[in-house]
Amino acid sequence: MGERKVHYTTCIGCHGGCGVKVTTEDGVIVHIEGNPDSLTRGTMCAKGLSTIQHIDNPYRLKYPIKRSGPKGSGKWERISWDEALDTIEEKMKSAIKDFGPQTIAISQGTGRGYNRYTHRLARSLKTANIITPGYVCHSPRLGLFGLVTGYGRLYCDYHGWGGEFPKTQIMWAKQLEISSADSEMCNWFIQSLDYCKNLIIIDPRQTAYASRATLHLQPRPGTDSALALAMMNVIINEGLWDKEFVDNWTYGFEELKERVMPMTPERASEITWVPKEKIIQAARMFAIDTPGCIQVGSSIERQANCGYTIRAITCLMGLCGNIERPGSMISWVLPETGLIEDFFLELPLTDEMKSHIIGIDKFKMGAARTCNPDTMVKAILSGDAPIKVWLSVGGQQIVHMANTKEVVQAIEKVEFMVHCDQFMGPMAQAADIVLPSAHFLEMDDVYDMHPRFMIEAHNKVVEPPGEAKSNIWIFNEIGKRIVPELWFDTVEDCLDYQVKKGQGMNWKKFSEQLVSGCWGKDQVYYKYKTDYWKKGGGFPTPTGKFEFHSNKLEELGYDPLPLYREPGESPVSTPDVFKEYPIVMTSGYRQPFYFLGQYRNIPWLRSFMEYPTAQIHPNTAKKYGIKDGDWMWIESRRGKIRQKCRVFPGILEGVLMATANCFYPEEPPETYHGVFISNPNVLTSNDHLDPMYGSPDLTCLLCKIYPCKEEDLQENVFKTEEYGTVQQLGGGKTALTEKG
């Protein structure tokens, strides 16, 4: 046996941050498992474990490359890091000089530890045109929960540190049990169920946990806010609200009462398709069996009424006093290392920068510090050229944004785009330069998502392939060339800087310690009853109270109270469209072994579900002549896609649940890796957006379905039935990895 070494690090297979223990032998990884001495107690999921197939993966990007043919042609040639960075420097400098810094856009994928680098780089360049998926994932929660807590989130208290676990739990449009997303961990949630009296699942389709929960509500996709308003209606009419909390600590109760009165359970039942008895039952459970918490999923943020929906859910929490109480919703006391986001918040977002944010005139919550991506797409298509240089890291805007066709058309018009990634994908194919990024087992970095009670360390276990570099290195190098005074000599200096608030803390020490956290008796509950937020007690809001009626929203021109609005396309809002497209479609189907657009090129994970699958009720399937396992067309007014049909009794008739964010890494570059074959965003609209956040209806629209014919399945991807083999990637393995 060779020389064995054990390494401890942190996983970012999703957002989570599970503790990881890796064993190497002579420098080669021979084992991966959970770190038992971590907050996730030695557990991990298939995504995290399958990172072993990222290491030495022949499809990994190893060298910087530049485009040597037209966009999307898949023709590339290897270049040096110096050439890549020189080009980026020159393009950025001339964009700043000729058109202003706001013409540089920095984009990212879902928060994977690089949020603060994209934001810091943008702010240091003096642009706020940051493109993130935040507006359809997590930002609405951060911003609207922030109207209660001042900054950041209300988290579910799954830990028992205050002496109690949640007695009633609502899982709203979320399956936390299959993904540690958005700063909450699957493992914590599942453990807390050992103390739970009522588990209420609100999800258009059945899940394993919904089958066994106390209550399962299946709303028509896009109607969640009506459900929340009706629950408040029941709670108020039955006198079940938390009088002590509402009388002493809230503002606007009478107005809220007036607002929810018309939304009776009967009316909500008509809107949501949830039987009124279930609405009443859920309301009573949440109000009577306190403390309770509500885990809100990002599917709600993929709806054009997301702002008011989250406001409604927040008011529901407050109405039942489920705020800052042990076992309810809480904002965490930070670890001694402080708020990791200070790394970019310390650079000011000036009025000048703000004035150039694309979409700020319309979406005052969502486009306050990042731009509205859909507005940007429309601007580019209308002939403006608001973006001259686009630096993209990780994310696949082509995949996750509404109306894929328009997104591709717009992105192809961007004069100069750089993309950083581990593999070639749709965004890389649209770029001019692609930079190879390191995997989390190949880099040192601080990991954090958002203001939660801990930050963690990524420790390098093995070297990245070829000349791949960590994203922190890439951003620091670009930053250094343009605004050297705001960046760092070395990556280690940058890491030291980020943990400097900890006593005697530096990167080396933090890397060994793995976690800087604050838990157990050190967490503070009932902050509003202490001087924590305000001398003499109170919330960090303009009124010092928990605001049912939000003065801040009113100031911005929004309705200060939660309200219900139909989706842009629905049986109610567009009855004519409904005649031709009679199925309510949502794209909220997630598999535990994929994370958004990721991992369809990882053989182990691909083996678990080779093709994107959509669920429909047996009667729906029968009606349209589709059998289980068949390929079917799903068509909307914008386009059509193919997904495999899964006949599934756990979904309402007339509703379809499609798998989101899918492309085929093995399909050729010219097709943007098959992004038009199965991706539901080919079907979604970018014309009807949330007034606060600009979020499109990604999870509620109308479609029709019909079976695919043999001749409809001509792409390569349909020609294999062998599970777990990722076919050779279309085009240019040699150009990408070997040549030069």
Binding site: E25, H31, E33, T40, G42, M44, A46, L49, I52, Q53, I55, N57, P58, H159, G160, W161, G162, G163, F165, Q175, E177, I178, C186, I190, Q191, L193, Y195, C196, K197, L199, Q206, A208, Y209, A210, S211, R212, A213, T214, P291, V333, P335, E336, G338, V515, S516, G517, C518, W519, G520, D522, V524, T530, Y532, F593, P603, W604, P618, F648, P649, G650
Partner: protein, 255 residues
């Protein structure tokens, strides 16, 4: 002593981590998988239900595979674990047919094309060839991570309690859906679960007496939500705790 496993169907989320953990633990060839997940989506009397049965070799007490093996390659250890000696296995596949649970895999050449066919093996795969060789032309299956059990017990560890002596799939499960222990001890963790929650085996009518049991039930209904002391203190991580000192100062004296 008879090792057994209890799988709680109320907890399994169909996440596939157990499958991935096994693939790592035993360096499984690309198309070989020892544990599997049986995904059921049923509609009994208009009551839809989604259930996942994680299945693997049942280590049956009365194992048909042992009986049919012509070369004594498949044997049962005194602790109940059924093992295969690849040096004796001639690949006749009688056992694959005899197993009523279809939990045996014949390793053909096609099942081991490497993770990335047409490319060089990864470092992990190359190491695996030495550390856990798989013999093409033989039959394989779950062995309850017998290597971990033996090595752990040699160090005085207890399987099912101490991580280093416990099967990899049990350790990795985020939901803690799997429990491992001694079926012969009426007070063991597994025996208590089987007794208290009416544990059952798959297809008992075959009469093979599987060592893998299942329990099912509802989520919720717990009488108390009071946190035990270890949960309140976060004792498992307290040694790593560090507090926002300003917050603490503000809070001190107010509590």
């Amino acid at each position: 002593m008879r090792w057994g496993m209890v799988i709680d169907l109320t907890k399994c989320t169909r996440c596939h981590a157990c499958v991935a953990a096994c693939r790592i633990e035993h360096f499984l060839p690309l198309h070989v998988t020892w544990p599997r997940l049986l995904a059921l989506e049923t509609d009994a009397g208009g009551k839809p239900e989604l259930t996942t049965f994680p299945v693997r070799c049942n280590q049956c007490k009365d194992a048909p595979c042992v009986k049919v093996c012509p070369t004594e390659a498949t044997t049962q250890r005194p602790d109940g674990i059924v093992v295969i000696d690849p040096n004796k296995c001639i690949g006749c596949r009688y056992c694959v047919i005899a197993c009523p649970y279809q939990n045996r895999n014949f390793l053909s050449k096609e099942k081991d094309p490497g993770y990335f066919p047409g490319y060089e093996l990864t470092g992990f795969e190359k190491k695996g060839k030495k550390l856990y060789p798989h013999q093409v032309g033989t039959t394989e299956k779950c062995n309850f991570c017998v290597e971990r059990i033996d090595a752990g017990m040699e160090k005085g560890l207890i399987p099912g309690k101490d991580r280093d002596a416990t099967p990899a799939c049990v350790n990795i499960c985020q939901a803690r859906a799997m429990t491992f222990g001694n079926l012969d001890d009426p007070d063991s963790n597994v025996s208590v679960l089987i007794r208290d929650r009416k544990g059952f085996t798959l297809q008992p009518e075959y009469g093979t007496e599987p060592s893998v049991y299942y329990v099912d039930g509802r989520i919720g209904g717990k009488e108390s939500n009071k946190a035990p002391l270890h949960a309140q203190t976060g004792s498992n991580m307290q040694h790593l705790s560090s507090v926002d000192s300003d917050a603490k100062k503000r809070f001190d004296g107010l509590a």
